[in-house]
């Protein structure tokens, strides 16, 4: 389970190449670095002094209990909100200094779904991912259409092009939304609990495709074993602070899991050096 593409380096947003093997097409994996991040809402501190680095092409898992600040951190990394303190750098350029449209060509975000009653076809939703590349009044070009169809097929939804969003199941929506993010050809892909609503097969497929993706990936996850299995590095948040960061084996220790989640565990190490967690009965 090696993250490919790390050799590409963070060359910045040069020409968007098409063709070639790495998927998504046209992605030049970016280096993401954040430090000293502080953020709050209505006087409540949500994040304090958070630091995080994702090397080009790496898959970084963001872990932590409910309310630990994972989603907030993801929004700040995506440039959807500005941190009160600290900085977020994409290939050494502050995310806040990159114009929105240019940023949308480099960072794609998959949030937790809220919209249910949208009467757009799955293909139209995927095509939204091409809007950052399209002049305001231009129609959808043949190349965009082709890219969107391929992305849907890659997501295992080849026959779903004309299905209305409102008629899709939660898992299908999740996969359509991922296809939408991938046709954005992001250098950095940020996902907020993308395994929600997915059955176990699709969870595994999703995580494998993220690990193999050409883009740099930061993903919030709840399942510690899946995170350990597929992520290159993990960042564990607790009450808005980074408790641990490093390889899965460094981060996921019995004592730390008990400290953060109040759950007692036994941990094995698999052949490829990744931890495997066994949960003890919660009652103590």
């Amino acid at each position: 389970m090696i993250a490919p593409g790390a050799a590409g380096g963070g060359a910045g947003g040069g020409g968007r190449a098409t063709g070639g093997d790495p998927y998504p097409v046209g992605a030049l994996p970016a280096r993401l670095h954040a430090d000293g991040i502080g953020w709050g809402v209505a006087g409540v501190r949500i994040l304090v002094g958070v630091a995080l680095t994702a090397e080009p092409g790496a898959t970084v898992g963001l872990l932590g209990p409910n309310g630990s600040g994972k989603s907030s951190l993801l929004r700040l990394l995506a440039g959807l909100a500005r941190p009160e303190s600290g900085r977020v750098l994409l290939d050494d350029v502050a995310v806040g200094a990159i114009p929105r449209r240019a940023l949308a060509q480099r960072i794609a975000v998959v949030t937790q779904q809220v919209a249910t009653d949208v009467e757009m076809s799955a293909l139209e939703v995927v095509l939204l991912g091409r809007t950052p590349y399209r002049p305001r009044l231009a129609g959808v070009g043949a190349a965009d259409l082709d890219l969107a169809r391929r992305a849907l097929a890659e997501a295992g939804l080849a026959g779903f092009e004309q299905r209305r969003w409102s008629s899709l199941s939660g898992g299908e929506r999740q996969r359509v939304d991922l296809a939408r993010a991938l046709v954005q050809e992001p250098d950095l892909l940020l996902l907020d609990e993308p395994t929600n609503h997915l059955d176990i097969r699709h969870q595994l497929e999703l995580l494998r495709s993220l690990a193999e993706s050409a883009s740099t990936v930061v993903v919030t996850l709840h399942d510690l074993n899946l995170a350990a299995q597929y992520c290159d590095r993990l960042v564990l948040l607790h009450c808005g602070r980074v408790v641990a960061a490093g390889t899965p084996a460094e981060v996921l220790t019995t004592s730390r899991i008990e400290q953060v989640y109040q759950v007692r565990t036994d941990i094995d190490v698999t052949d490829d050096g990744r931890p495997r967690i066994w949960y003890r009965d919660h009652a103590t």
Partner: protein, 362 residues
Amino acid sequence: MSLPAARSPVPARGRRDSPPPTGFSRNGRYVLPLAVLLLLVTIAAAVSVGSADLPVDSVLRAVASHVGLPVQPLPALPDSIVWDLRLPRVLLAALVGAGLAVCGAVLQALTRNPLADPFLLGVSSGASTGAVAVLVLGIRIGAGPVDLTTGAFVGSMAAFGAVLLLAGRQAGEPTRIVLAGVAVSQLFSAVTSLIVISDAHTQDTRSVTFWLLGSLTAASWASVTLSAVVVAVGLLVCWAGASALDAFAFGTDTARSLGFSPGRTRLLLFTVTALMAAALVAASGAIGFVGLTVPHAVRFLFGSGHRTLLPACAVIGAIFLIWADTVARTVFSPQELPVGVLTALLGVPVFALVMRRRTGAP
């Protein structure tokens, strides 16, 4: 990336006859030109219908002679009926129907509220306040009295200004602007009542009814020209924002991550729709249910992708209001039914139908 082979496209949760998997864009490609054709036929037919029946070929002849084609002109009276009375009225109906439907579709998308209509931002109550103020208080600018249309437009803009003021710095935020719109509408309705009651002589509330229910009787070539410009510009601006409107359906964060500036885009579109609605209300009063119902019906036919939805709303809204007005002016002839009564009578069943389908959706 090695995702599995395509799964068969069997509806995963087909618990009822789900809508047929037709291509919306394809729908747009073939049905939209057809609808435009239907609109032209509708205009010709509606002009020929009335207390003095004129065959369609006479209508075409009258129009042809006025635009300078070498045809035999009609006699003076039928020519005047076509050119001075019916054609402006039918065209105004088309423009008002088109504009209100587009405003409704845009506002429903911006607020993510299926109940949003073109008068959401206080525009209609502002218009009646302005018109009544002119009528009762006899406001004058310079020599002549201000005409009612101007008064209504100024009133609408005052109301929308108040909405923006009340919404404050976060005017691009849908909930705030909707709440402000409700408050301002109430305020202006109260002011209208106050003005009407303050003047004992003008208890004749017919003009107030005009602004509340709407009517196309005041149609003229001047109002047609003005409305045409407003609707054309408004439609173009909204259409340029079509992808943004699509993205808003998935929330502010998604819209922003796709490169849009939600606050600024919303504020621009709120302003454009308010201007459109204000100009249309000034020309025809607040005709209800067109802006609320037509977008739902069109969404049902074409899907909610706004590149297709907005032009389709314009065409279908135009056809709908032309027929509604034609029935309104002919069915109890020579008495005329307020067109707003008819749009409500037709609109509510359509709305109920759409609502049933919505609640049935998973």
